[in-house]
Symmetry: none
Subunit: 208 residues, 4 copies
Amino acid sequence: MARVRRPEARPDEILDAALAVFGEVGFAAARVEDIATRAGVSKGVIYLYFESKEAMLKALVRRLADGMVGAAEALVASGAAGGDTEKMLRTLITFMITQISNPAASAAPRLVLAEAQRFPEIAAFYRDAVIARATLVITGLLKRGVAEGVFRNIDPAVLLRACAGPMLVHMFLGTVFADPDEPAPPPETIAAGIADLIFNGIKTRHSP
Amino acid sequence: MARVRRPEARPDEILDAALAVFGEVGFAAARVEDIATRAGVSKGVIYLYFESKEAMLKALVRRLADGMVGAAEALVASGAAGGDTEKMLRTLITFMITQISNPAASAAPRLVLAEAQRFPEIAAFYRDAVIARATLVITGLLKRGVAEGVFRNIDPAVLLRACAGPMLVHMFLGTVFADPDEPAPPPETIAAGIADLIFNGIKTRHSP
Amino acid sequence: MARVRRPEARPDEILDAALAVFGEVGFAAARVEDIATRAGVSKGVIYLYFESKEAMLKALVRRLADGMVGAAEALVASGAAGGDTEKMLRTLITFMITQISNPAASAAPRLVLAEAQRFPEIAAFYRDAVIARATLVITGLLKRGVAEGVFRNIDPAVLLRACAGPMLVHMFLGTVFADPDEPAPPPETIAAGIADLIFNGIKTRHSP
Amino acid sequence: MARVRRPEARPDEILDAALAVFGEVGFAAARVEDIATRAGVSKGVIYLYFESKEAMLKALVRRLADGMVGAAEALVASGAAGGDTEKMLRTLITFMITQISNPAASAAPRLVLAEAQRFPEIAAFYRDAVIARATLVITGLLKRGVAEGVFRNIDPAVLLRACAGPMLVHMFLGTVFADPDEPAPPPETIAAGIADLIFNGIKTRHSP
DNA sequence: GATGAATGAGTCTTCATTCAT
DNA sequence: GATGAATGAAGACTCATTCAT
């Protein structure tokens, strides 16, 4: 199938390639030429669309920022689960774990985690554009649940860590640290287990 | 220039400097000369102790591997908390969160997370030398708690993610993504909150 | 800086420059940058055409191998001198001595002699690509002369050494060990003298 | 057998080691530390006896210069062969070919040939200290033979090349270009053959 | 005297970026 | 607009030489 030239799509194709290459070897070790090759263009073309290699990284992070948080916000805003706060948080957790289990989808956050230290601007941007919004979503759900009497009034910082953390670990274990001999546990199982734990803890409850 | 000789400590001093520099700018962007300067030696000295820049990274990871997991194992083995499994897990969580809240202590894991993709050998080593051991600790505690009837019999993979995850997020929020205008929440609060959540969940319980 | 593009000739121009520089200071002491400057290009260009400095040396030797032996073979094959074996050997000797008297032409063999010890691959290549062929030429002429009854049946190894040797010495005396105050003897004289000696020896003959 | 310390022998032991190492990899690629190790001393000791690596090379060449020419001169001066000029030249040729067939003995001339281009001082020294003297020996024998009526009055430059050349080729073929699968021809055979050729040429002679 | 740790100048090599075509 | 040859700054690594011990 001949690929039709769509010059408007160029920058995005380049960024796709950049994400792939950065994800594999990191920003510093990535060669612009490899990105170009992967994008199916020549080296020079890259510089028609981006100032520099660093500019590509920043554009990439900017483009990717919206990804999962946006979806999370939409999920909550859509009032899925009929307004049931617990169900909504459960749905959110399941959605995020499922998403992040896809190595292609997790490439972006992994890249940011790897490069944020080196590029404070990227860290700052990510903090504002992703982390702050994620915090809002979690805090919002928590408040609502507390107001409804279904959640205990815990520290939102704790809930943020408790929700986002397992995702991160799951992501790292499924990619960078994946044991080739051992299959990754299915995301649904993990998602359900995590949600269950967050809701009920691990203590046994003696029925009255 | 002063030519002091302290052969004993040299390799370790160099690795300290390497960790600092790698931690700041990443492995690829780190200059050997900067590491040397940081260690108070000349460029050439580095190569008296290490084959290459990459060898330094590997030595660094090897040296650091034992750090926190070792402490965790010791904690559990020492039978602290008088054999009370719940207390032990709580102590463990508190200890880990406290440790990881120290940016100097978290430099090592952050470095590994950032470079593991690029260096599969390091990833494999870390998986075997750290992650596997951490998994054993968690699994052991879980089994014991279940046997004692104090824990529900949940998926160890879930508990691992639920315990390690919040630490990771806490670490990233306290370093790379730290907002200079906002103080980080105190580790004790977070530790206590996380432990509470893991044990009890967020659901309200209606007394019988 | 001028950026001219002459991709066709580049590799050869670079090898010319490399031969000049290697010839002057030897492979190890030659700086890639000097070769580049000599070739009128920038340092980076070298690496567009050659893997490494060592690759240049090997390419150089490969390119130069054919030079004189090829000409010698052609000379013999062409049946110059109307099939007269003695004349042919004499022509060959004269041709070689004349060629090797040109310092530019002798740069290649001198380079090989200087570097062969360090690079066994080069030595092996030269042995097969040059020495073996030269041996064949000499042996062929000797056999023919013997068959015709004009040559005595001597050891080909001796004739090889007797023919190639004076060339070598002449080459070294005319370049590396040239006395600036003393002019080199003209190649024709030497060639004629060597040929005469090889054919007739130095003993006086008393006519019957 | 315990080696007794003989500090006076040090410089010579070092030069022996230097010759070995220079001979193997060339001057530029030789490491002072390797020479020291080979000589059984520490790096610092080298600098107690020699100004620099280059000084070692020069000392080496100076020490080795006398070697074969000295022996040749002595041979001639000793009036070996009872004053028979032809016999003396033949003895000389045999002696030289035999000597040079020993790779250890030929290391020095090979080194000089390899490095002379790079170090004009060495070339000049060798020209004066070795080549000039060898020329004198050959010229002397030639003159004498001519005076006696046993040699034709040929160009001494030709005889020099004809005598020294086969030695050189023999040396190179027996070391640098030695074919591991093919044994080198015995020096005596080559020496006899060369002498025979130089005296009688290759032409058949029809008895009168 | 002897050692070998330390220094730092020197070079190969890479690769982001430019720009003639 | 597109290409990819060319540039040259930058950085890892080596090793002759020094000198504290």
